[in-house]
Symmetry: C2
Subunit: 398 residues, 2 copies
Amino acid sequence: MADARRGASRRQFLFGGAVAAAGVAAGFTADRAIVEYTEANAPAHGLSTVPFHGVHQAGIATDAQANATLIAFDLHDDTDREALGRMMRILSDDAARLTQGQPALADTEPELALEPARLTVTFGFGPRLVERAGGTTPGWLRPLPAFAIDKLEARYSDGDLLIQVASDDATSMAHAVRMFVKDARGFGTLRWQQRGFRHAHGTRKPGVTMRNLFGQVDGTTNATPETDDFNELVWIRDGWLAGGTSFVLRRIAMDLETWDLVGRKEREDSVGRTLDTGAPQTGGGEFDEPDFDELQPSGHPVIARHAHMRRARSDDPRERFFRRAYNYDEAPVGEASSNSGLLFIALQADVDRQFLPIQERLAELDILNIWTTPTGSAVFAIPPGCAEGGFIGETLLG
Amino acid sequence: MADARRGASRRQFLFGGAVAAAGVAAGFTADRAIVEYTEANAPAHGLSTVPFHGVHQAGIATDAQANATLIAFDLHDDTDREALGRMMRILSDDAARLTQGQPALADTEPELALEPARLTVTFGFGPRLVERAGGTTPGWLRPLPAFAIDKLEARYSDGDLLIQVASDDATSMAHAVRMFVKDARGFGTLRWQQRGFRHAHGTRKPGVTMRNLFGQVDGTTNATPETDDFNELVWIRDGWLAGGTSFVLRRIAMDLETWDLVGRKEREDSVGRTLDTGAPQTGGGEFDEPDFDELQPSGHPVIARHAHMRRARSDDPRERFFRRAYNYDEAPVGEASSNSGLLFIALQADVDRQFLPIQERLAELDILNIWTTPTGSAVFAIPPGCAEGGFIGETLLG
């Protein structure tokens, strides 16, 4: 909670003695400031930063920000290994600046860089980039196999370079996106951009699971940075990707029209959870274990055989991943009355071992498939982080 | 600051006696709670509400929220006066609920309604709706005259019914948008949706002027609700629109590519303000008056003749309006590397008297026209607010 501490010391400075006195009177320890909360003295969250340098890249274990833009580039034919090194040095250098609230090196709008609001920038490599660099391509770094449920569009799929830009402030994010597009376009062609959102920072208590636009609590069963086996599930241990991970994007269109025809009970049955709290239909709270064996008086299981939760669950504890999804909601096209869905992002050490078995089970039978359609799909290798002076991708390109 | 008070009493409840004791010790009055600020006990801004009922509609004088969606409908041919009354009753009823954090009447995702985060809903009527209702059409309620700078597209222009949905939380906004689209589509066809953003709530100190994606401080010279003559400038006094206003939307594409070719000094000259603080080039702070007569040693005026600020300024104090703009930044189309701009929204009692003279001067000569292109344009009449039990538009349709 570096953010909170930073906010506190700024306020201590602003309110001086009176605040300290109140703190003592109430018996709080000296390093915890007490202030009267008003809109006017609320800490300006725009100044909050997430470190760029580290063992892992930021934007993975980072508490998801309110806004994200995913950008993919196709490399120019003449972008060789040496050029890739230059590209990643430039991108890393600007990411190190922008995430810390400093303008990019050739920033044309430096004032838009001053309020990062937890801006993170995360880079990923597609199979062609790794091949071009002469690196070892992990077996899982390839397009996912085709699923019968897919209706994939090139404008939402694949790519050689991924840049994930996320911030609690959309203005700060838009500026950073512009800087990275300008940095990268000498080396490649913009392939696609996709934008998503979650609940705004400060809207909800921290740690509350997000809801998607079907109204469902979305992401309860998730390896989170607080989970014991998070490191094991997410971070790769060997080779140039040690300290990195894999990134699977599935753009999932959610048909609000046909979903509207489904009653509340059927909606709950489709997932196996209640809509109000997200608790399993077999009782308890959101994070309690479901009882898949519990039967209704009729003899049918309480949690249906086709329920998403049952189908997504594996007996193998290694078949889990970390999800970090964003909703999207865009202007409808043509006769449609909505254009909504999910940028489903799965992070895991090994796509084939952790993600694919679950995806295959869900593609085969998951009643949610009736109302959802994957329209985009991409897989990237996320290199490890770097220390100050280094650059993202140096274990491949350095 | 009803929001802050509400937050305070929630926290008083949560922290009980210890908080009260601290308040007394520090000499604060009893109705102002003191709490230790941490991320965990920060008030959940999602619960903040803006009243729906009142003399004026919300969403005009309301401090602009972080996100806005503008929706326009074309009325069905058979939507007559009686149907319009039904439509506005339904829309008003759902707006009254959703803005207060309650589900819409036939809410299919009631859980998405519970955190409005200052949700406001504002309705506007185009010329055809007023005609259909048999009301008096104000002279200014018509498409703006064509300007040589315009490259208007139908998919961003005109319409019979406007719904402006704004919230500090994009999820809450998306849900409300869906509810209103479903409410209205029995009476009309969705014509367009446009989305925009400003700095996130809590990112900056309140009252700081926003920046646009050119990096400019945008909207310094603005009639604000704190301005003495705000009421006179914005609210209409007579007829069925008494307590209402007029709403001009100009969708302005901003060409970041050509703007990049402009140096910092030339960027400042184009507006007449410095980029760092937004102060006039003749000195002082952001809100100080410019000296349009001040000359450089060369004899040229310090604030150029073509500068936006000079061209926008009128000697007639009645030629002013209230602006409430939103940035937009969408996925680039085709070969473009950006798709950015401004949803410029001007609010005034009389479009012809207050907005048009300025718009005409700027269309004739404003150096910003080099880098900006109006691609959408629409004018709506914003009816007054309503009391509990009433509905928006009742002075026209009741």
